[in-house]
């Protein structure tokens, strides 16, 4: 086991080194900072961005928008997901709404949101619309996949309904909530940043990406992208840690 973990790490490192190498070669070949800056220049830009005065305010705003959207999605997703899992009529009612939201292109949602909401709420609204259906669908399938034998056992022993919900359904759907939250956050960060690019709030990763793109400072665009990826990874890592904390043998 240990050997295979070390081996996997070697392969991962090779893959990362290879990507950087290809990037370096391409930048030498293209020889233009306006098209593709070198990895070293990008690292320098990355450091400059991090050391800039407004860096923490900027990423805090993006993270805050993501977290607000995520929290609303988790609360509504879990509550409505549970209802639609235990009530077939509600499931039939909710299903077309979720499918419509999921299959609408994010860009259409943003364009409509730009008309309907103020600038600061657009990324939150978009984050909610991308994350909520994923979490809700996952919770519903968690409820539907709960072991019916356990529910039957609880009925035979005359366990009260709220205890069945709390002690059988909730622990059963916990892994579904975690996996839903993890993939929702993946979509969610992207949505928040796209929302920021288009709505241009005062602070936000998307806002700075957009202005870097306008002035053709490609190294800044890439450096901000790397920051966004790091934030996304950090949250996914956090969720996994949280899940392991709750996992029982």
């Amino acid at each position: 086991m240990k050997v295979s973990i070390t081996k996997n790490k070697i392969y991962t490192s090779i893959s990362i080194i290879l990507m950087i190498l290809v990037w370096k070669l391409a930048s030498v070949f293209l020889a233009s900072d306006f098209i593709l800056p070198s990895p070293e220049d990008t690292v320098l830009a990355f450091v400059n961005i991090i050391l800039a005065k407004k860096f923490f305010v900027t990423i805090s705003y993006t993270i805050l928008r993501g977290l607000i959207g995520f929290s609303i999605s988790i609360i509504l997703g879990v509550v409505l997901g549970i209802f639609s899992g235990i009530n077939n009529s509600f499931y039939s009612f909710l299903k077309p709404i979720l499918i419509t939201i999921r299959s609408t292109p994010v860009i259409s949602l943003i364009l409509l949101a730009l008309i309907w909401f103020n600038i600061d709420s657009v990324p939150i609204f978009i984050a909610f619309l991308t994350m909520f259906p994923v979490i809700c669908t996952n919770v519903t399938s968690g409820i539907q996949n709960t072991d019916t034998n356990l529910i039957e056992m609880a009925h035979v022993f005359k366990i009260k309904k709220y205890r069945i919900l709390h002690e059988i359904y909730l622990p059963s759907i916990l892994p579904y909530i975690f996996s839903g939250a993890s993939s929702a956050l993946g979509f969610g960060w992207r949505a928040v940043i796209i929302g920021e690019v288009l709505s241009q709030p005062q602070y936000g990763i998307g806002t700075f990406m957009q202005s870097a793109q306008t002035y053709l400072i490609v190294k800044d665009v890439i450096a901000w992208t790397i920051i966004a990826v790091i934030i996304s990874y950090a949250f996914e890592f956090g969720i996994r840690k949280f899940e392991n904390f709750y996992k029982k043998p």
Binding site: N149, L150, M153, H155, F157, P171, K248
Partner: protein, 251 residues
């Protein structure tokens, strides 16, 4: 006379009523699944505080009978007499333990609303001792063997001081040694608590070893082919005669 009784006396009175009552009787029950008549005016009587086994071919409604008694399956018509105010426990074919709860918590799950915490603790401790799992109270089901899980399920069934215990092929699929051990432990726990037990099984040996009465059921629409009454102890030849008779009836 009732009007003279205080509240406390009324409680003792109803409790006594419960003690004098009563065998469990299913009278003229009818149960169909679509056009298929499983029980057609079927009647059966289970005596109180003994172990009664039900044997019969597959699909003769043995499990449905248990589900009718514990009311998870509704009757089309008929009466169940002697079930009022009685609590029912069930030992299923699979242990049906909550994987996220420890052994102790699994038993506590069914008695949480019935007794104060201190009493719950005493009951759990006592039962774990009887099923020989006193050192496994804090283990999770995934850390136990199948036989051990089934012992936890037994302890759970006896924990809520129910009057009737239903068992649905709880020893199925276990090897002979494990099965004998479970039967030994079940007997031990039953002698201690002395409940009405209705035991559905395919295994004739299990039925003879455990029960005082055995009903052999026919294929649908179900009726009782024969009722055996067994002695507490009997010779090997008696054992074999009963076994042979049951085999012939089922065939």
């Amino acid at each position: 006379m009732l009007s003279n009784l205080g509240f406390g006396n009324l409680r003792t009175f109803t409790k006594n009523l419960k003690i004098i009552a009563m065998d469990l009787e299913l009278k003229n029950i009818n149960k169909s699944f679509n056009e298929f008549k499983l029980f057609d005016n079927f009647s059966i009587l289970f005596k109180e505080n003994i172990i009664t086994s039900i044997i019969g071919p597959s699909g003769c409604g043995k499990t449905t009978l248990l589900n009718i008694i514990c009311k998870t399956c509704k009757l089309n018509s008929g009466n169940i007499i002697g079930l009022d105010r009685k609590e029912i426990s069930y030992i299923f074919q699979e242990p049906r333990l909550l994987p996220w709860k420890t052994v102790k918590e699994n038993i506590q799950f069914v008695i949480k609303d019935l007794y104060p915490k201190r009493k719950q603790k005493i009951i759990i401790q006592k039962l774990l001792q009887i099923v020989e799992l006193e050192n496994f109270g804090n283990h999770y089901p995934s850390q136990l063997s199948g036989g051990m899980c089934q012992r936890v399920a037994m302890a759970r069934a006896f924990s809520n001081s129910s009057d009737i215990i239903l068992i649905d092929e709880a020893f199925k699929g276990l090897d002979i040694k494990l099965k004998q051990n479970l039967i030994r432990i079940f007997k031990k726990i039953w002698i201690k608590y002395n409940k009405t037990v209705i035991f559905v099984t395919h295994d004739i040996d299990e039925a003879i070893q455990l029960s005082k009465e055995i009903f052999v059921l026919s294929k649908p629409s179900v009726n009782i082919k024969h009722k055996f009454q067994l002695q507490d102890t009997f010779s090997e030849s008696d054992y074999n005669t009963v076994k042979k008779e049951i085999i012939e009836l089922i065939d």
